[in-house]
């Protein structure tokens, strides 16, 4: 990596002061698992002058519940989130989503704050300098979006505008399901941003001198049925092709609450408002779940090569609502939308670690 100045921040104030002084030329380093991709591939036009280590800030690694909120410190590691018994018991979707991220080695250092603030994975955007990049595009402020006319298999089917890169964070799906918000600190003080509003087509909602300090989830009054499903091409390491989280509460056979969040289909995490409204007051059956799934994808406008995501998302929403952990999708069904685009193996993961549920895999090759 090219040289940079490195400082260890001891307090949140020190970190945001350094960011403000550097005026956009400094970057925070939490676990570094996303940041070093940027520093090594130099895919952005400017290379940071300064790296601010925030792991040296004490007291930002916690999971605690008070009267109103479940609070998670921004430096809490994904490994701790996926193993937390409090989360496993009451906020299982977040534990499952954290567990589905990357690999054990990465989860041992990656933080929740870093997972939420990670950069997009668009193949044009990330194209490395050492093999001919960086490539300019709308997200970098010059030119058009290359994915629209190019390879857009992994891009948005909903809500894209100028940039069609999807939010890559799995934990953001869980947090949007729970109506969570971020506590953000800047030189001028604190503010809150709902995770559901945090991602917009060209960037996330942070200013260059702000840092996420805490993630706040409004306390769930009871423990609803909740499911996280993530479809990937390989089981470990891969980012989601589509991920879905759903939560359902029922009384006397009728849904009193229904929430659906979709990841990797849009620049942000999508809450399926119409589908949720449809389910409230109705019984949850295979039929209503399927109807809700259709509604959740009703506004989808795929690009040239990613219509297959609608099919996968519809299947995952139906299953997540019904509490089914399986996310295998027969290649035939996917092919109906996407004859040649998926690579050789379809595998998917229910992200639950061994001992909690079985992991389903299918190794059926497509021609």
């Amino acid at each position: 990596m090219r040289p940079f100045t490195h400082i260890n921040a001891r307090t949140v104030k020190q970190a945001v002061t350094a960011l403000a002084q550097q005026n956009g030329a400094a970057r925070l380093n939490a676990g570094g698992t996303d940041l070093f991709g940027l520093l090594k591939d130099e895919y952005l036009p400017a290379y940071p002058d300064m790296i601010v280590n925030i792991k040296t800030i004490a007291g930002l690694n916690y999971i605690k519940e008070d009267k109103n909120f479940l609070r998670i410190g921004a430096l809490t590691r994904l490994a701790d989130i996926s193993k937390s018994s409090l989360l496993r018991q009451r906020y299982a979707v977040l534990a499952d989503a954290a567990h589905s991220v990357a690999t054990p080695q990465i989860r041992n250092v990656a933080t929740l704050g870093g997972n939420l603030c990670q950069d997009v994975r668009c193949c044009y955007y990330r194209y490395p300098r050492h093999i001919g990049g960086p490539i300019q595009c709308a997200r970098k402020g010059s030119g058009a979006c290359l994915a629209v006319t190019g390879d857009n298999r992994n891009h948005a089917i909903l809500g894209g505008k100028r940039c069609f890169a999807v939010c890559p964070s799995d934990t953001a799906v869980a947090l949007t399901l729970y109506d969570a918000r971020l506590l953000v600190v800047g030189p001028g003080g604190e503010r809150q941003i709902a995770v559901g509003d945090f991602y917009t087509p060209l960037k996330n909602g942070l200013r260059s001198d702000e840092m996420v300090r805490e993630i706040q989830i409004p306390r769930l009054p009871e423990v609803p049925q909740q499911t996280f499903l993530k479809f990937t091409l390989r089981k470990p390491i891969d980012f989601a092709v589509v991920s879905v989280a759903a939560l359902v509460s029922q009384a006397t056979g009728i849904c009193t609450e229904a929430r659906i969040a979709l990841g990797a289909v849009a620049p942000g995490i999508v809450r399926a408002d119409a589908a949720e409204k449809f389910l409230r007051g109705r019984p949850l059956t295979a039929e209503t779940a399927a109807q809700a799934a259709e509604l959740a994808l009703a506004d989808a406008r795929p690009l040239s090569r990613n219509a297959y995501k609608i099919n996968i998302a519809t299947a995952l929403v139906t299953r997540a609502l019904l509490g089914q952990k399986e996310c295998e999708i027969p290649p035939d069904e996917v092919k109906a939308y996407n004859p040649t685009e998926l690579s050789t193996f379809h595998r998917c993961s229910s992200s639950t670690p061994p001992g909690y549920a079985t992991v389903v895999e299918s190794g059926t090759a497509t021609p």
């Binding site: 570094g32 698992t33 080695q105 990465i106 250092v109 390491i237």
Partner: protein, 174 residues
Amino acid sequence: MATAPAEKRPPAKHVSLVVNGRAVELEIGSQPHQISPSHTLAHTLRETLGLTGTKVTCDNGACGTCTVLMDGAAILSCMTLTVECHGRSIISIEGLADGKTGKLDPLQQSFIDHTAFQCGFCTPGMIMSAKSLLLENPSPVEDEVKEALSGNFCRCISHYQVLRAVMAVAGKEA
């Protein structure tokens, strides 16, 4: 012309860590003998400390060949800055064998006994991931071993033998 007297330079900053049980003190700076703040732990292990057992393949967090233990947990040395390892204890593949007798770690011996590699490039990372699992859970079931090794890629498809080698150390034959 004389170079500036040493006192005029800012005092060299150090990073102190323990590598394979031995205390190591590295100076931070831009001189050839110093550690640059942008050096990864993988770079320092291989190029500064001569511990070339740790391999670098993707240098981007995606393959696991550079896995080492930091305070007992498996981490990727290619995605870790050396300057951020102050006060940490690192164990690389060279640190597993008994320093006095040279006797291999049971995992290393089991990899040999089960021919759990072909080219061997992924092997140090595989062993370090397996070591971190066994430190936490000495008697894992097969799914737990698969899970712990899910971040280690092998181009030669030695996974089946690797699984057997690790299960044998766990006292279970796969």
